[in-house]
């Protein structure tokens, strides 16, 4: 081999062993550092959107309490959940959103500065905490015990243990107590800004909302733990709940994807949802003034050239209902920016009415709170209570029928808030719902099953939780849903 060849060979071998610089593995198009505010906005949006959502794939609470029904694809309204894994979807979004709130806390909790700053920061943390409480209580109210203390562990805990539902409720109440105290101390110190889509950082409003949720959770225990319920309610009254005309709402931005759920569901032209006959028939019977605020009328005439408008609901759970023959949601609720509501003064009044009916200390009498609740709901929907409404046999206050009356009117007042509407039916056992054809009253769910992927992904803890909750089926009552000796009315269907 010639000399120059050897040089060439050495050169090549040099290339072989030398090393080029490899690119780092950092995604240039994804952020690794973002302001906490941007995560808060996202989490508020996702979390509240979930509770308000009405997709048949995610949140069917409006169907479970029969505000609405579906035509054509009626599985969810007939309590067949597995095909769409509805509870998986709800549960998944809850935890992903909680992880965002956790991240917000993580990013700001170690910040410190002036006293004013520290109080402001404490307010921020308290607001995030209130939102976490809201998400957890909604999830627990759907399924029962869920992963709580071991949740959100990432790599460290892929299979978190489920906490007992009572223990979670107790802790949520304690957190609300602490949050209210923090907000009281820093009431004038500011918190979040525009990124708080709900109250724009209004600390006083967050505090009222926290107190309202505290009362809500407290009253859930009225049947099973009356002393705690009374104490919680008293604390909420002291802290100050949402007042007349006030509500905790997400005013939707009104541009995709930040639109209200009714707009989102129907803007694409689908025609398979509508009001259920359960609510429409009842409101027709009562001549309820809120009907035009809730629904549209449809032409029920069978004569050519004659129009006969009426409010008609979907016979609940029926397979095929001609879409043109039923009412739809009102034009106002179709607006893309129509706000979603999560707490309001009417709810406060009905909570107080229930407490008063039990003989607990409240500002006014049971009847006064009850009637104030009705009036507040009408006002909320922009109508006035028709003359004689409060004297109707099915409306007029009668302490002996307090469960039926409060249950029914609260259910009407919480229309379009499926999660709380379903809680009303479960805690009051009123109003009377319509079992779907071929099913009976005793098929109507008290809870949703756990997610279908939990037995797969977290089998041992799931099995324990399923037995702890009393069996993973839809007819297991949650701990606060005591029958109080009065079985659900079982009309002969």
């Amino acid at each position: 081999m010639k000399i120059k060849n050897i040089y060439l060979l050495i050169l090549v071998l040099g290339v072989l062993v030398s090393s080029c610089e490899l690119p780092d593995n950092v995604d240039p198009k994804a952020a690794t550092d973002v302001p906490a505010e941007t995560i808060l906005t996202n989490a508020l949006r996702d979390g509240l959107n979930l509770i308000d959502n009405m997709s048949q794939n995610t949140n069917v609470s409006r169907m479970l309490c029969q505000y609405i029904g579906m035509t054509q694809y009626t599985e969810p309204s007939r309590y067949e959940f597995s095909d769409r894994s509805i509870q998986d979807s709800y549960w998944n979004t809850t935890y992903l959103t909680l992880n965002d709130f956790k991240e917000v806390k993580m990013l700001i909790q170690d910040l410190s500065g002036s006293d004013a700053f520290n109080r402001m920061n404490a307010n921020r943390l308290a607001i995030v905490d209130i939102m976490e409480v809201l998400l957890y209580h909604n999830l627990v109210d759907i399924v029962g015990g869920v992963p709580y203390t071991e949740a959100l562990g990432g790599f460290d805990n892929k299979t978190p243990v489920y906490d007992d539902q009572v223990a979670i409720y107790t802790d949520l109440q304690a957190r609300l107590t602490a949050d209210i105290a923090t907000l009281t101390a820093g009431i004038n110190d500011g918190s979040w800004g525009a990124e708080d889509l709900v109250f724009q950082g209004d600390v006083a409003m967050w505090k009222k909302f926290a107190a309202t949720v505290k009362a809500r959770l407290g009253m859930r225990l009225a049947d099973v733990n009356p002393s705690t319920a009374q104490a919680e309610l008293a604390a909420a009254i002291t802290a100050g709940m949402l007042e007349a005309g006030e509500a905790m709402q997400l005013p939707w931005f009104g541009s995709s994807p930040h639109n209200n759920t009714i707009y989102t569901m129907f803007a694409g032209g689908r025609e398979d949802y509508g009001p259920a006959n359960t609510i429409v028939d009842m409101m027709n019977d009562l001549g309820d003034a809120r009907l035009p605020a809730f629904f549209t009328q449809t032409d029920t005439s069978t004569e050519v050239g004659v129009e006969k408008l009426a409010y008609v609901g979907i016979p609940y759970g029926e397979i095929t209902v001609p879409y043109n023959s039923i009412s739809h949601f009102s034009d106002a609720s179709f607006e893309a920016s129509f706000p979603a509501t999560f707490a309001c003064h009417a709810e406060v009044q009905f909570i107080l009415a229930e407490a008063a009916a039990r003989g607990w200390t409240t500002p006014l009498t049971a009847q006064e709170h009850y009637e104030a609740g009705i009036a507040e709901s009408h006002a909320f929907w922009g109508v006035t209570v028709p003359a004689g409404y409060l004297a109707l046999p099915d409306v007029a206050w009668d302490n002996a029928r307090n469960k039926e009356l409060i249950g029914t009117q609260k259910w009407l007042a919480l229309y379009n808030r499926g999660q709380e509407g379903w809680c009303v039916w479960r805690s009051f056992d009123w109003p009377v719902l319509n079992p779907p054809p071929d099913l009976s009253y005793t098929d109507i769910p008290f809870r949703m099953p756990y997610p279908y992927n939990e037995p797969d992904l977290n089998p041992d803890n799931y099995a324990n939780a399923a037995s702890a909750v009393g069996g993973d089926n839809v007819r297991t009552r949650l701990f606060w849903d005591a029958t109080d000796g009065t079985p659900n009315p079982s009309p002969s269907f």
């Binding site: 072989l16 090393s19 973002v34 949006r45 599985e75 994807p257 050519v304 050239g305």
Partner: protein, 1080 residues
């Protein structure tokens, strides 16, 4: 880009100049027997010595021999080695015969190195390029089906759609399991850009981009099956390698011209279409308003003051009124006030044959024309080809066009330095690809599941009113204000309004320089680049069901590979030594920008992202990957009967780097292979009936990195809320501690030929284990994440492959060859990550395709039947009982075995070929069947019941349907008839066990039938035409057997691992093509 410019300039500046020969004692010329052209590069060796020479580019050689009685051995790739005794001659011309048996076959192996097949300790199978080209001019991968054992191919039924190629089973849990495609030694990108791989499908199948390789430029394809064969390619070769060798110029006089024309006509195979019933029309049942039948709407359309029967257009089902020519009904097409027949009443009858849904499909045509020029002398060779491909799809408004130019050239600068380069440019544009899956964009979703059998397709063709409004059979209601689609668009509207278009321009090329230090040591430097720009535009027109939309995706890819290799090949007496040492640097940059309108289009039918009602969405992706590797391969042979080969490779991958400074980004893996040629052993050499008997054994490992950016977590970004930005913690948790994946495989094989090579067998057994897999594992969402990247899991594939070659007839004029390929692959998921018992690969409603520890990959799960004494059990009311476990095993996507039987009968220049492709076993869950039964569209839901009465009559009148053969819980036979409607779907779609819709996916297909004729040289004589080849090729002409009624069991749901599901199955094509090849 720089490298590409380099390739181009090299091609431009390459000229042709002369090179001097050498003076010698023995000289001569070597030509090939086939075409008489000179053979350059033939090795000439003096027997028993190490004296050797190589023929130059005109086939000339000169060699100094020790004495005139020496014997010269002439050997060349693909030719029979010839030994000639000199007997004093000093001038010797030799004609080499091409290899007539596989005994001395030379195959292309890893890194483009040609090797004698007999020396290989692993399994390689080769296919001739012409076979590919004439049978499947659109997608070369599809033509391999049934021809290579161990390779399972799923065909694209859509125009330009993906083909799924699986070599020796699925090894990766969540990877795409596709082989690596290598063109002349250079890896080719094979990304798949199906626009939606989501569970329920939808979007368009844009095909896998390896299809850009022009079949007309393919000389041959080698399939490297085991890890040992592919160990040198590293990471990407874990699923096997498909090596493509392109055609090159030949040394010849003048310029050779070759013209190839291919015309293929295809028709939809009706046996793969849903079988609909034509006894009953629209409706979900008697829920209508009319007082007589309750199967119609009831209103005054024609304005005569009396109500009319109106088709319930809103119902996407056919449980309605029995057809009756005396019943006058306003059909869907008479509801539009702008229609000339507004308010018209017509008899309630099924459309006549020819106006039914099958008339929607058009004839598929493909025109492929290629012209190629080639030439060469002792200094250089070139080939230039141009191919024009033009396809009209079988759906209205679909076409695919491709133009490819390929240039390859080589030039010898000196005796030591030679340079070669290859560049191909492809421009492809398509319009109106077919939608896929459970989506309105796929017309089969409606035809196969949700439809009204009363719809006349000639009337559907008027899909638009004079004012541009959408006319569809599925109006929300009959009144003029409600004439919009409730669920389904008119299929013609789908095709002509909601069409996609896409284009891709791609440059693929390499330049390679060889420097010969000595006759046994060569240095090769090669750099290759693969780059393309790909654009997809998707539309949803205003007036469609859904919010109007425009989405565009623009992708750029740039991948470069640079290799430095030192190759050696030397003999020391009985010992032969060959191998290489090399290094590779790979850089890959993939960019994507997606823009889409949000909330609808402002101006209808103006398709621009900025024409958006709400602020439009734009997202960007940039993936940058780098890998560098060093590798070595040594093969030692002794006495021509035993060979031992080893490879070693070390890779460093950027994908394993992250914030962790101790990340193990470098990994090593070896392979060893041994070969024993028993027929060469002492006493066995003279056994006349045994021509060839080879044993081979190998063990190999292949390591792999992973995808980019899996080690560092980042935030996800949502759409702004006004001027507020939204970020969230990503749903997938990345893992900073990832290590390389590994595959190890053990393979043993026997190759044998007996009785003058009339009987041959090639047998392989293998076991492949893929472990430490990197995949995103779903976790309990209560962890805060949907999924996390982990290293873990092991998948085992065990298999047996048998290839049998028979030559029952062989005379001077006649030859009959039979080739049988049979293989089976047993797949088991040994483990997943710790604490992860099961991985969901796909889910559709209650049916899951899973990978779970202890089960085969692709196990189908869902609710099962309840069995009593092995019989399906029904409730007392006659409905199917459903098992409690929502995740019972109800099937598996893996076939038991596959077989291809090919027969070629030739007589002189005439050759007749038939290929039967057989899959036995494997299951498929059919959603068409599930919904076709539920909606009363399918034939089984009409006609008579076993009692001989119309099944749709009331049960009380002797109608209804029954689950035949089922028993009650006490074991007595089921005798309860249920209403036909309830038989189809009970109350709801999900009330039957999922197992009811799982079917055996076995099939036997006549895959290919061809007749070809090569004009004998005597006819052509001295004319300027040197060769004429004519062939007629039929593909998929006959499905000889299948066990499913309404679709092709071979259907591919979508690209990638999501198999075992049929949903909106696209019918298969039967095609016949004529191929004419002229050589001048």
């Amino acid at each position: 880009m720089k490298r590409f410019v380099f390739v181009l300039s090299l091609l431009l500046f390459a000229g042709f100049s002369a090179l001097q020969g050498q003076g010698v004692q023995v000289t001569g010329n070597v030509t090939g027997a086939d075409d008489g052209t000179a053979l350059p590069g033939v090795s000439v060796v003096v027997r028993g010595t190490t004296i050797g020479a190589v023929t130059d580019f005109e086939g000339n050689y000169s060699i100094t021999v020790p004495d005139a009685s020496a014997t010269l051995m002439f050997s060349f790739v693909g030719m029979l080695t010839q030994e000639v005794a000199l007997d004093g001659q000093t001038s010797l011309d030799v004609v080499l015969e091409s290899t007539s048996t596989e005994l001395d076959e030379v195959v292309v192996t890893a890194l483009g190195v040609s090797r004698e097949k007999k020396s290989l300790g692993y399994s390689v199978q080769e296919i001739d390029g012409d076979a590919v080209n004439s049978s499947s001019p659109s997608n070369f991968a599809a033509s391999l089906s049934g021809k290579i054992s161990g390779v399972q191919i799923k065909q694209p039924n859509t125009m330009g759609g993906s083909s799924n190629v699986l070599i020796r089973g699925s090894t990766s849990l969540t990877g795409n399991n596709q082989p690596l495609y290598v063109l002349d030694g250079v890896p080719v990108d094979n990304s798949n850009y199906a626009s939606n791989n989501g569970n329920y499908g939808g979007g368009f199948d844009y095909g896998n981009v390896a299809q850009d390789i022009n079949p007309n430029d393919i000389e041959s394809i080698s399939v490297l099956k085991g890890a040992a064969a592919s160990a040198l390619y590293g990471s990407r070769a874990a699923n096997g390698v498909i090596l493509i060798t392109t055609k090159k110029g030949k040394t010849r006089k003048g310029i050779g011209v070759s013209v190839n024309s291919n015309f293929v006509v295809g028709k939809v195979d009706k046996s793969t279409l849903p079988k609909q019933q034509y006894e009953y029309g629209a409706g979900y049942g008697p829920f209508g308003e009319d007082p007589d039948y309750s199967n119609f709407w009831w209103g005054d359309v024609d304005g005569d003051g009396a109500n009319d029967y109106i088709t319930i257009t809103a119902d996407d089902a056919s449980w309605g009124q029995k057809f009756d020519p005396n019943l006058m009904v306003v059909h869907w097409d008479a509801l539009d006030p702008s229609a000339s027949n507004y308010g018209e009443k017509r008899p309630w009858v099924a459309p006549p044959e020819g106006n039914r849904f099958d008339s929607f499909f058009e004839t598929n045509t493909k025109w492929v024309n290629t012209v190629a020029f080639d030439g060469g002398n002792k200094d250089g060779r070139f080939r230039l080809s141009y191919t024009n491909y033009s396809e009209k799809g079988f759906l209205p408004n679909s076409e695919l066009k491709k133009n490819s130019v390929n240039f390859s050239g080589s030039y010898n600068f000196s005796k030591k330095l030679s340079v070669s380069a290859n560049v191909s440019y492809t421009y492809q544009n398509a319009l109106g690809r077919m939608g896929t899956g459970y989506d309105g964009g796929n017309v089969m979703q409606s035809f196969g599941q949700w439809f009204q059998t009363n719809v006349d397709f000639t009337r559907l063709e008027q899909y638009e009113s004079p004012t541009g409004l959408h006319r569809t059979w599925n109006y929300a209601y009959w009144t003029p204000d409600r004439l919009s689609p409730i669920y389904f668009d008119n299929p013609y509207w789908v095709r002509y309004k909601n069409y996609e278009d896409d284009y891709r321009s791609r440059v693929l090329g390499y330049v390679s320089a060889d420097y010969k230090f000595t006759d046994w040591l060569t240095l090769t430097l090669r750099t290759a680049v693969d780059t393309y720009h790909d654009v997809q535009n998707e539309r949803l027109a205003e007036g469609s069901n859904g919010i109007s939309d425009f989405t565009t995706r623009q992708r750029n890819l740039l991948e470069s590979n640079t290799d430095v290799m030192l190759k050696f090949n030397k003999g020391f007496g009985q010992i032969s030594l060959n191998g290489l040492v090399g290094a590779n640097y790979r850089h890959r940059q993939q960019q994507r920008i997606t823009g889409s309108t949000v909330g609808g289009l402002v101006v209808p039918e103006f398709y621009s992202v900025t024409n958006s009602v709400d602020p439009y969405n734009v997202s960007e992706y940039l993936g940058i990957l780098g890998e560098q590797s060093a590798y070595a391969n040594v093969s030692v042979g002794y006495g021509g009967f035993v060979y031992l080969e080893g490879t070693a490779r070390v890779d460093q991958s950027s994908t394993l780097r992250g914030l962790n400074p101790d990340a193990e980004d470098t990994y090593f893996y070896p392979s060893v292979a041994g070969t024993l040629l028993i027929h060469e052993l002492g006493g066995l050499k003279d056994v006349s009936w045994m021509n060839y008997l080879k044993l081979r054994l190998n063990y190999a490992q292949v390591g792999a990195g992973t995808g980019v950016y899996r080690t560092i977590s980042t935030y996800g970004q949502g759409t702004n809320w006004g001027n507020l930005s939204l970020f969230s913690v990503a749903n997938t948790l990345q893992n900073p501690n990832l290590k390389s994946e590994n595959t190890s495989s053990l393979e043993a094989g026997i190759e044998a030929f007996f009785f003058e090579s009339r009987v041959g067998i090639d047998l392989a057994v293998y076991k492949t284990n893929s472990f430490d897999q990197i995949f995103s594992v779903p976790v309990s969402r209560a962890s805060g994440y949907n999924s996390m990247y982990v290293n873990g899991g092991e998948v085992e594939n065990k298999g047996l492959e048998i290839a049998l070659h028979l030559v029952p007839v062989k005379t001077a004029d006649w030859q009959w060859n039979i080739d049988v390929n049979w293989f089976t692959n047993q797949n088991t998921v040994i483990s997943l990550a710790e604490g992860v018992p099961s991985l969901q690969l796909m889910r559709q409603w209650g049916t899951y395709i899973t990978a779970a520890a202890g089960e085969p990959y692709g196990t189908i799960k869902g609710t099962n039947y309840v069995y009593t004494d092995g019989k399906i059990t029904v409730e007392d009311n006659g409905y199917l009982m459903v098992g409690d476990d929502p995740l019972e095993v109800i099937g598996n996507i893996q076939p038991d075995w596959n077989m291809g039987i090919a027969s070629r009968l030739s007589w002189k220049g005439l050759s007749f070929y038939a290929l039967v492709d057989w899959q036995h076993g494997g299951d498929i869950s059919s959603f068409n069947t599930r919904y076709g039964w539920a909606t009363g569209v399918y034939a089984e839901t009409a006609g008579n019941n076993p009692k001989g009465n119309p099944q749709r009559d009331p049960v009380a009148d002797g109608g209804g349907n029954i689950f035949e053969g089922a028993v009650f819980e006490d074991g007595t036979p089921n005798d309860v008839y249920v209403p036909a409607f309830r038989w189809g779907r009970y109350w709801h779609y999900g009330n039957s066990p999922e197992a009811r819709y799982v079917f055996d996916a076995s099939y036997i297909k006549l895959r290919e039938l061809s007749l070809s004729y090569a004009l004998p040289a005597t006819v052509l004589g001295d004319s300027f035409i040197r060769g004429v080849n004519i062939s007629v090729v039929g593909r998929n002409l006959w499905i000889i057997h299948k066990n499913v009624e309404h679709f092709d069991p071979e259907i591919m749901y979508t690209a990638g691992n999501m198999q075992g599901i049929e949903n909106g199955a696209i019918p298969s094509l039967k095609s016949v093509g004529v191929n004419v090849k002229l050589d001048f």
